[in-house]
Structure formats: structure tokens, C-alpha cells
Symmetry: C2
Subunit: 115 residues, 2 copies
DNA sequence: CTGATATACAACCATTAGGTTTCATATTAG
DNA sequence: CTAATATGAAACCTAATGGTTGTATATCAG
């Protein structure tokens, strides 16, 4: 019997919840994207959206709580930097699901070829 | 200048929201996993969790709304089948973010090699 | 020093989410 | 036919989310 052991990502359910939850909002995905392109201050980020500074600040807090971005002080500013490692973890998890499905197909193949 | 055009997934913000939102819950991820391994009825799925049938039914509705699973009638049962295509879309989107970050590195490389 | 800018954070509000219980309907078993 | 099973869906409750305004604090510019 073929066993598909999912790669151990050392992620708790809670951590995975937070990552996907953080990505489930278009504004946060855009902030994430900008923070991956290059560091930006919270004010600069906030200027890009039609909502208050405080609202953007909260979105950044959500991203930070998921480990998707980090804050770095620079004078009176806080620069927001995207963390590709967290993204990679989420992607790896999705790969696992795809392999589970692929596994089902492989088993079907095995049955058909009847080896 | 190198432009990184993200692969067009033909996904609206709303669709992406729903996919990530649906994945942001451990129970739903487990239902998803089981539905990818093989079709199961709603009752069978519900028996695996410490919550009411109606609660599990709602989770399945969320997954279905995101296109992550589909329902197929079989007599009085509804079989839930995982849809790997939706998973693939989400993964591809995360790949895009990783490439954006990688792009930043490439640009830095270009600066350093000064060509 | 003073005023302007950048951030943090609390209190509040409306909507959504995740759960429950209850009832209705469809299908199968006997 | 009748009882049991499988699903659907409404009404309800509580907590979390996503937004607001308002206030406080830190830092920079001149």
C-alpha cells in the first residue's frame, strides 16, 4: 500500500487558519503584494486605499499575525516587509492537497493496470 | 525592465476571497482532504466531527461556494467530491506572490552585476 | 521649542460567521 | 404503506471582522 505522508510543515491548525484568513481579503492581498515588491511605510500603504489609516493599520496587523509581513522601525516610520516564507508554507500545504487527489488517481491507475 | 506578468487565472477578487476564506478553517480543510481522497456523503462526513450535522452541512456549503467541492446526488444521499482545480488556482496565486518576491531579488542581482 | 507627521490604540457599530435547535421534505427499507 | 434515514433550510445566539472616530505618543523639520 502506498502511503502519502504529507510533508511536515510544523504548522498548527491555528497558524494555517491565520494565513488563509489573512489572504482572504483583496486589500490585504494587495498590501502583501506591495510589501513583497519592496518595503513601504504604513502611511504610504494606507494612501493607496479608500479607507482610513486605522483600517489599513488593522489589515497590516492581521497580516503580521499570520507571519505574512514584518514591521521594521525606521525613525518615526514602520516599514512593512513581506515574508515569502509564510507564503511558501501555504503553497506547500496546497501542494499536499493536490498530491492527495493525485494519489487517488494513482490508486485507480494501479487498479486498472492490475499489477 | 523586466516585467513579471502574473498568469491570468481569470479569478475575481471575490472568488479568491471565497477560496482562501473556505480554507481558513481546520474542519473545512479536513472535509476538503477527505473529499479529495474519495467521495463521501454528508452524513458520513458529519460523523467525523464533534458538531451537529447542520454545522457540517454549512461548512460544506462554504466549500461548495468556493468551488472547492461539488455535490452529486446518489439516491437520497449527496456525495461530496473535492475539486482539485480550485486548489490549483489558489496554489498558482501563491506562486505568483513568490515570484513577485523573487523578482525583487532578481532586480537586486541585476543592480549588483551592473549589466 | 513648536507644529506637523507617523504610528498606536481604544471604543464603538454593523455585518458576517459558526454554531445551535427545530421543522420540512425526499428517499429507501421492510 | 410506514418508519427510518438523508438532506435542506429557517430562526436564533454569540463572537469575530472590518470599518469608523477620537485620543495619545513619538519623531522630525525649521
Amino acid at each position: 500500500m502506498v502511503v502519502y505522508q504529507h510533508s511536515d510543515l510544523n504548522l498548527t491548525d491555528d497558524e494555517v487558519d491565520r494565513i488563509f484568513r489573512a489572504l482572504a481579503d483583496a486589500t490585504r492581498r494587495d498590501i502583501m503584494r506591495r510589501a513583497l515588491v519592496g518595503e513601504e511605510s504604513i502611511s504610504d500603504l494606507a494612501n493607496g486605499y479608500d479607507m482610513t489609516f486605522a483600517a489599513v493599520q488593522k489589515h497590516i496587523t492581521v497580516l503580521e499575525g499570520a507571519g505574512l509581513v514584518t514591521k521594521h522601525r525606521s525613525g518615526r516610520e514602520r516599514l512593512i516587509r513581506g515574508n515569502p516564507e509564510a507564503i511558501r508554507k501555504a503553497r506547500t500545504l496546497l501542494n499536499t492537497y493536490e498530491r492527495i487527489w493525485q494519489g487517488r488517481i494513482d490508486q485507480l491507475d494501479a487498479l486498472l493496470t492490475d499489477d
